[in-house]
């Protein structure tokens, strides 16, 4: 695929100083983004970063946001480090970085000892503006659970391609996200806020969910995004009543019918959409009919330039929204020779829909029969007293593995006792809906399940 040189404006070009004022908030600070049109948070040192491969290693999402707006169209390459990135030396070497942007809270690390260090502060001072002409490579780290992360190369064009004209919404829009904007899912919301002329409420590591919800409420959030796991956790907080978004968005994990129904019951007036997206494949499509899965005709007709196909039950995507390639030579090609990205997500047809069955690598083998834990979780989550569940393999001498389930109850049920009855009800539900080998051999009621930094349920494959 040849490189297309885009004439589209840079991110900074999209921050018009005439537009109504809009703000980016985190827990500690608020910045009027319009001021960036004729100002800087980089202490007047932006020109030094021109044409460089810059690693953004800021500790706060607010300074990350400011740095990204300023550096797009100036830096040759922008590598965005999520918090607590492992294998930092390897990542920085792979990115061929020669400059780093940090902030006051960045933890020092030998790997960040680069020829040029520039500090970003959440305070904008007037500055002369640079001409922007470099088509910046945006490099995002994939969220693998172990080993050196892969570095996926996007362009601004591929990142904003899913944000159609429909994103310009009536009335003042305040976006919020449970995601970190240094990962693909959160970055999409950051870009949506910029393109749509909206404000944005950023999440903060370690902030209790109740405080975050209260802060979202105070900032008047209208559009809010997170993974199904983020949302399940939010629904367990009494502070959920502090927000009343007009649009609720889910992505990054399978949105099952139970979480869609719960959100609809909590926010009856809100539009609820679930997007199918990954760092490599980008946002492929969005579903807004309130039903899990996606209409089967998505596979039959290209939509908005996105082609889907199935190979051995796994979804593959070809579109201008996918990443172009991985940096470095260690990894397989990101796209195959036809330009398709293999997502590794398995789907199954049910009537006029396709539903997500789980990850190809996450299959549990019970006596030679293959099981996607997500399929069983979707059944368990239908139980009215279940908030979330995790199905995992357990070693077994007879069948190699067997499935067991950890279940978190809705807060009002957790106190009322009767756990044995609920376990039996869940098992009855599973027996009714699933073949015998997919029915969990045991169910444990647990107070909480781990949610990884990516916002996804932490699965330990074994």
């Amino acid at each position: 695929m040849k490189m297309v040189r885009s004439n589209a404006p840079s991110l900074k070009g999209r921050i018009a100083d005439t537009a109504p004022e809009r703000f980016f908030w985190d827990r500690a600070a608020r910045v009027c983004v319009n001021q960036l049109a004729c100002g800087t948070g980089l202490g007047g040192r932006l020109a030094e970063l021109k044409g460089r491969s810059v690693v953004v290693a800021t500790s706060s999402q607010l300074t990350t946001a400011l740095a990204l707006i300023e550096l797009d169209g100036v830096a040759r390459r922008l590598t965005i480090l999520p918090p607590d990135t492992d294998h930092l030396d390897a990542v920085i070497a792979c990115a061929e970085a020669d400059a780093v942007v940090i902030d006051a809270g960045t933890t020092d690390h030998g790997a960040l000892d680069l020829p040029l260090r520039v500090v970003c502060a959440p305070a904008i001072v007037p500055a002369e503006q640079l001409s922007r002409y470099v088509p910046t490579e945006w490099v995002l780290l994939t969220s693998g659970t172990s080993g050196v992360p892969k570095l996926a190369v996007h362009s601004l064009a591929s990142l904003i391609a899913p944000i159609g004209a429909g994103q310009r919404l009536d009335g003042a829009v305040v976006w919020g996200t449970f995601y970190d904007i240094r990962r693909y899912g959160g970055l999409q919301i950051f870009l949506r806020a910029i393109i749509g002329g909206a404000s944005l409420v950023l999440s903060c590591a370690g902030e209790p969910i109740a405080d975050h919800l209260a802060r979202l409420g105070r900032c008047g959030v209208t559009h809010l995004s997170g993974t199904p796991s983020h949302w399940r956790r939010a629904l367990m907080s009494p502070e959920i009543g502090k927000i009343s978004p007009r649009y609720v968005r889910l992505s990054g994990e399978i949105a099952d019918q139970a979480i869609l129904d719960s959100l609809h019951a909590t926010f009856p007036e809100a539009g609820i959409g679930h997007a199918y997206a990954s760092t490599e494949a980008g946002v492929s499509f969005e579903v807004s009919d309130g039903r899990a899965g996606f209409p089967a005709d998505f596979l039959e007709h290209d939509r908005d330039g996105v082609e889907l196909n199935l190979v051995d039950g796994a979804l593959r995507i070809r579109s201008s929204r996918t990443a172009q390639r991985y940096l470095g030579t260690r990894h397989a090609r990101l796209r195959d020779h036809d330009g398709f990205v293999d997502t590794g997500d398995m789907v199954e047809r049910r009537g006029d829909r396709y539903v997500f069955a789980g990850r190809r690598g996450g299959i549990i083998n019970v006596g030679g029969l293959k099981i996607h834990p997500e399929e069983i979780e979707a059944v368990i989550n239908r139980h009215p007293q279940v908030r979330m569940s995790l199905v995992r393999p357990k070693q077994n001498p007879v069948t190699g593995s067997i499935v067991i389930a950890d279940v978190v109850l809705k807060s009002e049920c957790a106190r009322s006792g009767g756990e044995l009855q609920i376990k039996n009800d869940i098992l009855a539900l599973c027996r009714e809906a699933l073949p015998r080998h997919k029915v969990p051999a045991a169910i444990s009621i647990v107070p909480a399940l781990d949610v990884a930094a990516t916002g996804k349920l932490a699965r330990r494959h074994g």
Partner: protein, 86 residues
């Protein structure tokens, strides 16, 4: 309840859940003829670990799977004894 009765109790419960008919249970009953299939035994081992707190098959590296119900009960009794000693 004795280990033997606990095991027989679970076998009956699992047979009901899986819609299987259980043969009359006695020590010389060959497990393959009991009416539970391999999935049924897999579930049995998992449930017994919950109830008795031991999984003697996974704990021992060289454990052979027993042939008769009597052998099966013995494996659990030995496992419980070893745990009591340890």
């Amino acid at each position: 309840m004795s280990i033997k009765l606990t095991i027989m109790d679970h076998m009956e419960q699992i047979a009901r859940e899986h819609g299987k008919t259980l043969a009359p249970l006695h020590d010389n009953l060959v497990l393959l003829d009991s009416g539970l299939d391999s999935l049924g035994f897999a579930v049995l081992v998992a449930r017994l670990e919950d109830t008795l707190g031991i999984d003697p098959f996974t704990a021992a590296e060289d454990a052979m799977f027993p042939l008769t119900l009597g052998d099966f009960v013995k494996v659990y009794e030995n496992g419980a004894q070893q745990r009591a000693v340890a």
